[in-house]
């Protein structure tokens, strides 16, 4: 099975990005790098927003976020995700849903 690129899927979607105001934050980046061995956010996020860097750090880019809420719930050991809805009208805009 060839690995699919999630970007190709996200490309079909419509977004209104709230530039410079991401609605999700990693509270303490050091915690991901030094204390989280699993880093499940990097495999479970359906939009591939969490990327494991070579140095053990996790980088979060929320532009393609589908607003599912997975990352907030699966980070239950460390509770290191600060999660809010985007401002009204911003974010993913499903055409079909």
């Amino acid at each position: 099975m060839t690995q699919v690129k999630v970007e190709e899927k996200l490309f079909q979607n419509r977004y209104r990005v709230d530039a410079g105001r991401p609605h999700i934050h990693i509270k303490q980046p050091d915690l991901c790098a030094n204390h989280c061995t699993e880093q499940q956010c990097t495999t479970c996020c359906p939009a591939g927003c969490y990327i494991a860097e070579g140095n053990g750090r996790v980088v979060l880019i929320t532009d393609g976020c589908l607003e599912c809420g997975t990352c907030r719930i699966i980070c239950d050991e460390h509770r290191n995700v600060a999660w809010e809805w985007p401002r009204g009208g911003f974010g993913i805009l499903f055409k079909f849903g």
Partner: protein, 434 residues
């Protein structure tokens, strides 16, 4: 916005629209707040609409609601890596009006439903996120929105903000959601000419087919997959419990890609154009996971209250019915001149208990736990079933009795006799339970 309303409904999904419509229709002063650009722009579903629930709210919905196809056939498949065994149920009875189930497209349906709220006199405000509940001691008195001067007040707030409900949690009404109670589903919509869909699925104009799938399609995780026919498109997706997703290394989109490449599914979407990729959570914890659903000045309806029957893939109907019951409870209190205190709102829970919603959820309350403890339902059994079918169907000079013995042996080798009986018994008990 210093106005005061009888009720503020948060969310314009199935539950919120049902609640707002019912309340507005009865003459209450209703404010409904939705964060999406338009109602439906944030919502994801398979999507099967169960006529009964909407019919009880808007009897004439068929005249104007955007419906795709009415369903005349249900296929249930158990898949292994390269094959499926399954059953078909097709009935001419489902092809007679009034139709019982339809496929819909949520972005369109929710928009229509919301228009009915406006027509009934409710005030609907979109592009507005409710940030928190306004409290007076223990009592909810309104909401704080992200608009300028965005505080609004009401006698009661109905939280219909969906599975990932932040508001009740921020207010401390219940704990954080647990990965074992929540499924993540990913889905795509694929467009094809109408005639192609009709010939591929052996159906006429307006008729539809649903395929529900279990087995190796979820890569050993607790979950299911689905494929539904719309008028000019096919939606397909797969969902698994977050607790299982956490334990393995497959990404949700890779799982979806594997599903699309399965030899039983690939020909059904061949030549189609994918136009949207979506993801959404489903609260599948069942009866045991239902949080408190009312308190001083508030009620919870729909996914926010875990009202989903995962076994039967029903959610939107439970959402609509709970939304309707919440509104009716409120209307009765208002008519009687009673306040929206926790003591009086207790009636909401009592009415839910008496409805199909709680009865069904209670009946299956043991199911989630059984499936969590028995991964063989998603790994070993599908494979065994498919191998058994293959063995019996293949003609290769071996007599059928020997084949039967071989099949029995393979089941026993994979799972002891007590294990097999145990599983069958557990399932039977769970379906029998009351």
């Amino acid at each position: 916005m210093a106005e005061k309303f009888d009720v503020i409904v948060v969310g314009a999904g199935m539950a919120g629209n049902a609640a707002a419509y019912t309340a507005a229709k009865a003459g209450l002063k209703v404010l409904q707040i939705e964060r999406g650009e338009y109602p439906g722009s944030k919502n994801v579903q398979g999507a099967i609409l169960y006529a009964d629930a909407i019919e009880k709210i808007i009897p004439e919905f068929r005249e104007s609601a955007p419906l795709e196809r009415h369903l005349i056939e249900q296929r249930v498949w158990v898949l292994d890596d390269t094959s499926h065994v399954g059953s078909n149920y097709r009935s001419e009875e489902f092809n007679r009006e009034p139709y019982n189930r339809y496929t819909i497209i949520r972005a369109q349906f929710d928009k229509w439903f919301s228009e009915q709220v406006t027509k009934a006199g409710g005030l609907v405000i979109c592009e507005t996120t409710v940030q928190e509940l306004l409290m007076d001691g223990n009592r909810v008195v309104g909401v704080r929105t992200d608009r300028k001067n965005g505080d609004v007040f009401a006698d009661c707030v109905i939280l219909a903000d969906g599975v990932n409900s932040l508001l009740a949690r921020k207010a401390g009404f219940h704990e954080e959601l647990k990965p074992k109670d929540i499924a993540l589903a990913v889905k795509e919509i694929h467009f094809l000419p109408q005639e192609t869909i009709e010939s591929r699925f052996n159906i006429g104009e307006d008729e539809g087919v649903v395929i529900e799938m279990a087995g190796k399609i979820t890569a050993g995780m607790m979950g299911t997959a689905f494929l539904y026919t719309n008028r000019e498109s096919i939606t397909l997706g797969v969902g698994c419990m977050l607790s299982d997703f956490k334990k393995q290394k497959t990404t949700p989109y890779q799982l979806l890609e594997q599903m699309k490449a399965h030899p039983s599914i690939k020909p059904l979407i061949a030549g189609s154009e994918m136009k949207e990729y979506a993801a959404h959570l489903i609260p599948e914890g069942g009866y045991e996971a239902i949080p408190p659903v009312y308190g001083d000045g508030w009620m919870i309806a729909g996914d926010a209250g875990m009202f989903v029957n995962g076994i039967h893939r029903e959610g939107s109907n439970l959402a609509m019915t709970t939304g309707q019951i919440a509104a009716e409870t409120l209307i009765d209190l208002k008519t009687a001149g009673k306040e929206c205190s926790a003591r009086n709102l207790k009636v909401y829970r009592q009415r839910l208990d008496a409805s199909f919603v709680m009865k069904d959820l209670k009946k299956y309350r043991k199911m989630p736990e059984i499936f969590h403890k028995s991964p063989q339902f998603f790994t070993t059994y599908p494979e065994l079933l498919n191998r058994a079918a293959h063995t019996m169907v293949k003609v290769d000079g071996i007599d059928k009795k020997t084949k039967e013995r071989e099949i029995r042996g393979s089941f026993l080798a994979a799972r002891s006799l007590t294990g097999l009986f145990g599983d069958a018994f557990k399932l039977w008990r769970a379906f029998q339970a009351r």
